[in-house]
């Protein structure tokens, strides 16, 4: 490619951020606020807060076919539909068509993606938990994978930093295994959840609290408060929850330092063999397929775990024949997610004169209690529960004999209170769980495609026994009736918490990133999305990506000013 000097100047920035999801939004905000002229690249279309949420006010009867997409359309979303909740008439514009974005599965892998400005920060579950000191120490203590190069104390101030901006509602508990955030007031538990909480405290000495969520229980930084619609996934007209679109990208834009370029598929990072560092990125225009180069002093890869990995693997040079920063051979390995879809449900014949108003956009949380203190199980690590209490609605009329007015009477009043507990467990990093590129099979932008070869292992399956039985036991001990259990692991990816493919570590021989999320051997490239994770914890990971990004951005700017990058 021949670029004249002027064009090269026009295409030169202080920083380039690849991706606009949870972590890319934060990179954009922090770098622009620190004065860097920043190019923010997004492979998909632009999505402006509120303006581009076409279904945010749709009533159920305005969405054809009970919000289900047609059989014809389903054929485009074979993999995206595996969650059972993602692709609907009201949300289909947020999910990629598998027919456009193919990948291969040596073993089933559910890669659930959204390519547009904001990425999955629009559709995320919003549960926000800090990792704990125990989580950062576990690998070293147990001899699993490699040690995290940082400890909780390194990240704690950055958790505070991002929480104060994002707004996380929750209850402070002072638990060592689940450090408190900078909380907005907690949303309330309902009577059945309180009842279970009290029983669990008495009988098991275990904690139940309200889910810590990036939903605003009161107005915060000009956003919110939450209106209790529980339609978050469509995009919130009230900015009642944190997303890149509602929070970080507007902040970045306000600095005047951000250039946002949608429809920009990043092909690779350009590595300069003489300078011994990256000098920019190669971008394919998603519409015209025209290739363009952009230059910068530092590059933040926030394309989401798998796509960041793809870009790095596709960035081959003489220095990095196996992909940028892949001296260790660990790039693409150690894939983690959370394993879930196991737990129990029960009902209770109490509180029948009580009901609720509003749809709380979070449930309960039971912090991890296994393998803590004197508790020792036949597996490593642990799990937490999400879930909640509610009253049965009209759907219970399906399995009734009643017909006619009799049926109408039944469904016009709510049924019993029920309580569900759904466990989320830690997945251990395992070198054999990996992804690689198929250079033969290319997508319509000419990009190589990913091949997934990952599975849950013995530790996860052993853990699931407790995940199921503990849930049933806690419900039964509290007096819940009709307690039933379920256990359907599905496949890796289903948690939509892909992690670990460019892990942080102390030793360049066994890890891809250092303690500042810099590629060990290419220090002006930072990776702060899920790819950086050295272990998974059992907590939802997005808050950690936010904190990690803010910390790395702070370091990057300081190093840049010192002339070290």
């Amino acid at each position: 490619m021949n670029l004249n000097t002027k064009a090269k100047q026009e295409n030169t920035y202080d920083a380039i951020v690849v991706g606009t999801g949870i972590s890319g939004g934060w990179a954009a905000k922090e770098l622009t606020e620190k004065g860097l002229n920043t190019l923010v690249l997004e492979r998909g279309r632009d999505v402006e807060h509120v303006k581009d949420y076409p279904t945010m006010f749709k009533e159920p009867w305005e969405l054809p076919n009970n919000d289900k997409i047609s059989y014809e359309e389903q054929q485009h979303y074979e993999k995206q539909l595996r969650t059972g909740y993602t692709v609907r008439e009201s949300t289909k514009h947020w999910w990629v068509k598998d027919t456009d974005q193919p990948y291969e599965e040596v073993k089933r892998f559910d890669w659930i993606r959204g390519y547009h400005v904001g990425g999955r920060s629009i559709m995320w579950g919003r549960q926000s938990y800090r990792l704990s000191p125990m989580d950062f120490e576990a690998n070293a203590k147990e001899g699993i994978a490699v040690d995290w190069p940082i400890r909780y104390e390194d990240l704690a101030p950055w958790y505070s930093h991002v929480e104060k901006f994002a707004g996380i509602s929750g209850e402070a508990l002072g638990l060592p295994q689940l450090p408190d955030s900078e909380f907005l007031p907690p949303m309330e538990l309902n009577c059945v959840e309180e009842y279970l909480r009290d029983s669990m405290a008495k009988k098991f000495n275990r904690v139940l609290t309200i889910g810590r969520t990036a939903n605003l229980s009161r107005a915060h930084n000009g956003r919110g408060p939450c209106q209790y619609r529980d339609l978050c996934i469509r995009g919130c007209p009230y900015a009642g929850y944190f997303s890149s679109n509602s929070a970080t990208l507007p902040a970045a834009k306000a600095t005047g330092n951000m250039t946002l370029r949608p429809h920009s598929v990043v092909d690779s990072v350009i590595y300069d063999e003489e300078k011994g560092k990256a000098v920019g990125v190669r971008v394919i225009d998603a519409n015209t397929l025209e290739v363009q180069e952009y230059y910068s002093k530092i590059i933040f890869l926030n394309a989401s775990c798998m796509n960041t990995t793809l870009i790095m693997m596709n960035s081959r040079s003489r220095r990095f024949p196996e992909g940028l920063g892949n001296d260790s051979g660990e790039l693409g390995h150690n894939v983690m997610d959370h394993h879930f879809r196991v737990g129990a449900n029960g009902s209770i014949d109490q509180f029948n004169d009580r009901y609720y108003w509003g749809k709380r956009p979070t449930g309960i949380y039971i912090p991890r209690y296994r393998n803590i203190g004197s508790d020792k199980r036949n597996y490593l690590r642990g799990f937490g529960y999400q879930g909640g209490g509610s009253r049965e609605n009209w759907t219970r009329g399906i399995r009734e004999l009643a017909v006619g007015a009799e049926l109408k009477n039944i469904i016009s009043v709510p049924g019993s209170w029920t309580m569900g507990l759904l466990a989320f467990g830690e997945v251990l990093p395992d070198h054999s769980n990996h992804v690689k590129l198929n250079f033969e099979k290319r997508d319509k932008w000419g990009q190589p495609t990913l091949v997934m070869d990952c599975e849950f292992k013995e530790n996860e399956y052993k853990m699931r026994v407790d995940m199921k039985n503990d849930a049933a036991e806690m419900l039964e001990e509290a007096g819940f009736k009709n307690v039933t259990t379920y256990d359907d692991p599905g496949a890796m990816g289903l948690g939509i918490h892909e992690m670990g493919t460019a892990r942080m570590g102390r030793d360049p021989k066994t890890s891809v990133l250092n303690r500042w999320n810099q590629v060990h051997a290419c220090k002006n490239v930072f990776v702060t999305d899920g790819a950086c994770m050295t272990s998974a914890g059992c907590q939802n990971p997005s808050l950690t990506y936010m904190a990690m990004t803010a910390r790395a951005a702070d370091y990057a700017v300081k190093e840049l000013k010192k002339g070290n990058l």
Binding site: N65, Y71, W357, E400, V403, G404, V413
Partner: protein
Amino acid sequence: MDTKKTGINRREAIKRTGLWVGGIFIAPAFAGFFKGCTPAGTQGTVFFSGSQMELLTRMCDLLIPSTATPGALDAGVPAFIDRMVGEVYSPDNRTKFAEGLTSFDDGAVGAYSKPFTELDESNQIQYMKSVTETALNTYNEELAFILIFRDLCLTGFCLSEQGANSLLRYMQTPGKYEPCMPFEEVGKTWAT
């Protein structure tokens, strides 16, 4: 299903609610509309024949009749089921549903020597209950037809504008969360 309010595209709205006849849009009242369509493949339905629609319409009316509050036909539930089966179900499941409908009717003939639509209401109720009872008592890998029908009919009704706002209570933007208030202050099951 007020098409002005819905924002769904016009062609879709027409497909859902009415017929083009000689270039003129005929917007029918839902109740009784499909009863009039007898020949198989009648325009205006997505999947079911006229006689199948007639049977489904009667079943919907029986399951959720119009009383002091609107019923399934007021809410356009037969058309909802036609679309769900015709557009969302896989070809396999469409066939299974149609077969289920036929065996339901055949069962009525077996028990009462008359097709379902020709039975008097008390026999229709008795028959529907007995089929439901059998389904509920039979462990089956696949959900019995009658339960799929009840699911479709209840869903179509409870999430319709008429059902959600009459028999049930609906509010898109509650504005607050009260976890445990006296039931009387809400008064009805929340539709969503």
